[in-house]
Symmetry: C2
Subunit: 543 residues, 2 copies
């Protein structure tokens, strides 16, 4: 009996040693990760059979107060990984669960250190219609779209990253799966699935992901993160034009496996947003119920609750569904006027991002014919509507490369003006810019009694008689005024402060008109010089 126990003990020790040896070098040495950074556990496990479908792996992370269950994934060649984004600083412990012996009951601990400068955590919804980072910093999206930038190979992708570093954009919409357009001249480096019988992308085996494809994607998402740019990842799209790959014809089970794999791999990147589909209504193989199912799956399995949306073509999705955190809209006509754009915000009561408001460009298609001025105007109009614009451009270079598809280089006139707008937004109140009064045409937004942007759009007035809707204002309150030229990118202070007095049932007015330059694209910024305390009584308000 003693002999037997001794033997068992020896076998146990041997097993433990073998398992420890199987761990990739470095796992034990990672003892700290910054908060909202990524802590990765790598484990050796079975490589036979189909590890993507046959092996389950997850880890439970706890700091004693909060517990998070996080799915792991198979990364090829017998290596399994679990990635964790610590939501709080401090000591975290973890233990794995798996249906396979070498992967289960592994344990460890690490320390999450305070975030480094520039790391504000993931972005979430704030103040109903706006966004903020987890650390409380407001996030004002000025996004762009480059569908296939991460499918174009290292050289082009490096150029794109360089262009992004110099551009104003803090969000990039990008496809996970390749699209047909452009692949003849710029074939993707990798394909998301193995092929059953030949060379990808032919005859894809939807049960076997290609880890190299996803590692490449992650590298790019990580580089965006380092640039402070959110990666709005588009999970599915209708741009397999020739129906060659069938990526939009996966079954519900295949879709679910894909969504789970993506979440397991990428949710620990703090800058990830999930865009369930681009032009969902052009994907003819799925119903609204299919999209809802996948959206609710995302909502359920993402441990961090990254932002979730679905982007339309012509037909608008029911944006009130609970899984949708914010509206990712294509609607150039609505974005062209604040009085239109604001209506979607009212209808859905969520943040609205006009991710496609048409493109700056010279295409023969009408969705890519905006002038730079029109693009800048649409951004300002959506801003006044308490919403957000989205940029891209369709201006081919000599080789036919366009930012919308490849990234690489910006050629339009709008980006510097969008950088200027971004400065204005970043200096605006943390609560965001909200429409002040939508009873008549909407031209003024801000925070009542504190901050106003008056945007004259395509009008070209030579003066403005100061008039504000009464909410939040006090009799005698003074404001600093600045004239903003949205195209010339200038801010010109108005010498004298404006002092507002109530007039009639609805308004406050200041007696001195402000001279304006009489050209389009002019805005005014009014910033309160007096706090309400000590000023006149708050007026009665009654429509």
């Amino acid at each position: 009996m003693t002999r037997l126990l001794q033997t068992l003990g020896l076998i146990w020790l041997a097993l433990c040693t073998a398992l420890a040896a199987a761990e990739p070098a470095g796992t034990e040495r990672i003892e700290s990760t910054e908060q909202w950074g990524m802590h990765e556990i790598a484990l050796k496990g079975p490589a036979d059979g189909n590890p993507f479908t046959e092996v389950q792996l997850s880890a439970r992370f706890s700091n004693g107060k909060q517990t998070l269950d996080v799915d792991g994934f198979y990364d090829g060649e017998g290596v399994y990984r679990v990635r964790f984004m610590p939501p709080h600083a401090g000591r975290w412990t973890w233990v794995t669960h798996s249906n396979r012996w070498p992967l289960t009951n592994k344990q460890g601990a690490f320390t999450a250190t305070p975030p480094r400068p520039g790391n504000h955590g993931p972005v979430g919804v704030r103040h109903q219609h706006h966004f903020g980072y987890a650390d409380g910093t407001p996030y004002k999206p000025v996004g762009t779209t480059m569908y296939s930038w991460a499918h174009r190979g290292d050289a082009m992708e490096a150029q794109t990253l360089k262009a992004l570093a110099a551009a104003p954009f803090n969000k990039v919409r990008m496809l996970v799966f390749p699209q047909t357009a452009g692949i003849e001249r710029h074939p993707p480096m990798f394909w998301p699935f193995a092929s059953r019988s030949g060379t990808p992308p032919s005859d894809p085996d939807y049960t076997r992901f290609n880890p190299a494809f996803f590692r490449h994607l992650e590298q790019r998402v990580g580089q965006l993160r380092e640039l402070g740019i959110e990666a709005d990842l588009i999970l599915l799209h209708p741009y397999d034009d020739k129906r060659a790959w069938g990526l939009d014809t996966m079954t519900r089970e295949q879709d679910e496996r894909y969504v789970r794999y993506l979440v397991a791999r990428l949710a620990a990147y703090r800058n990830v947003w999930w865009s369930l589909a681009n032009e969902f209504d052009f994907v003819r193989t799925k119903t609204d119920a299919d999209w809802r199912h996948l959206g609710e799956l995302l909502q359920r399995i993402d441990p961090y609750g990254h932002l979730r949306s679905i982007h339309n073509g012509k037909r608008l999705y029911n944006q009130t569904e609970d899984w949708i955190t914010h509206v990712s809209l294509q609607h150039g006509m609505a974005a062209a006027e604040a009085s239109r754009a604001v209506l979607f915000r009212e209808a859905w009561r969520k943040p609205v991002v006009f991710d496609e408001l048409k493109y700056e460009g010279r295409h023969d298609r009408r969705w890519a014919q905006l002038t730079g001025r029109q693009m800048v105007h649409a951004f300002w109009a959506t801003t006044i509507a308490g919403s957000y614009g989205g940029h891209s451009e369709f201006i081919p270079d000599a080789d036919g490369l366009i930012w919308l598809a490849q990234g690489v280089a910006l050629r339009g006139e709008s980006p510097p003006r969008l950088a200027f707008l971004k400065q204005i937004l970043d200096a605006a109140p943390a609560e965001g810019i909200d429409p002040i009064d939508t009873f008549e045409d909407l031209t003024i937004a801000g925070q009542p009694g504190r901050y106003y942007l008056v945007y004259f759009g395509q009008q070209a007035p030579s003066e403005w008689a100061p008039k504000l809707y009464l909410t939040g204002l006090r009799d005698g309150q003074r404001f600093k005024a600045e004239i903003i030229d949205t195209w010339a990118m200038t801010v010109t202070p108005v010498k004298e402060a404006l002092q507002f007095r109530p007039q009639g049932r609805y308004d406050f007015v200041a007696s001195t008109p402000i001279k304006l330059p009489g050209k389009p694209g002019i805005a005014l910024r009014l910033t309160a010089l007096d706090t309400p305390a000590g000023l006149g009584a708050r007026p009665a308000q009654d429509d």
Copy 2:
């Protein structure tokens, strides 16, 4: 034993005779009712206790193919009624169910005759964004609002009915419950509830309805029905300004009892629509969940599925909820331009009725300052948006009476022009008027390839170069053109037919410009002279 049986038999006969005698005269003689008319069963039953809460009564109607269960109601003085609107012609039988002996297992039969002229049945949703009667006739709402017209006494109400008979309106929005405004000078004839301790409306007993109040309401709803006018009944509202009656502070149980009573009494009026609330967001005692609960109750218990909506003040309700059949909107700013109004239709994918698009009037409040021209423009703008407008006016007479509150008499400039618009709508395709292309500013609506309205709104062009979006058009197709002056109410034919040819990727054009009168409020009507057969091929369409 024989004696006992005889005695029981005599008692039985006596009971039957008594019950028959207790039935109101005429019940047995009503042997036919027109289809979508009303068949009423009256029964004598208990008058003690609280019949409103203690007695349950319903009847099952069947024509052998379809069975409908319909709730009855207590009408006071020991009389109970069940009302039925036969949805099909032919023989119907019925049997009652009740928790009280004199009311249960009563049976009968009647014949539903074909509907008389002018009876088209109840209105429902058609073609997703439009309406139609049950008999297939399109219904194009041109509605008005007269909140308290049925609370003002017989003399004023007779005047209102006379005014309505001469007006274009085929829908009236009206409050079930009285409102505070105007009651000093025009106190309601009846109150909906008995008083627990004094005279109504003080100390209302929400468990006891006042049948006289509801009989009066029904009389008015029936008179609207005879005029061919839909009664859009507003169940709850926030206009108990002084919190005197508490009609907006009923408990959920009290609300439910009220909704059930209203459905039992009024659902058999084919012209009834249910508007759950006016300015729901100003009713501070209820949450969105409360409204949804009551709306779903309405959806469940109304045997005929009358149209259901909820009307907003400033905050828009989630109009995608399943119980809502169509959108009843207050939004003057959106209704002022087709390019705005269309966005709600896109967001909610239901019929949109701008029941309040501001009022024609001379009020010091900005919601009642539209000129007649502005009101007419808003109706045309909502028409081009594939939606519908709603009228009312705030133009006090010498006694301060206004149509919005009392009805009585129209004084504005818009009603004749709305009658003119109604003629245009009634002559338009049965499928309704839909926006043709919302990619740019929306000015053209109709049915592709068959019928177009081009509305120039506040522009005053002196000519129009014919250009239509390609959908539905064929090369060489000819159209008759007519110039419509929406204010002068004229239709002027254009002498020569227009022949359209494809141009570019998106458009069809005709070579001859149409001369226009160079003033605002002008529209064009284009009606196809050729059917597609035999014309040029359908163009490829690709955005």
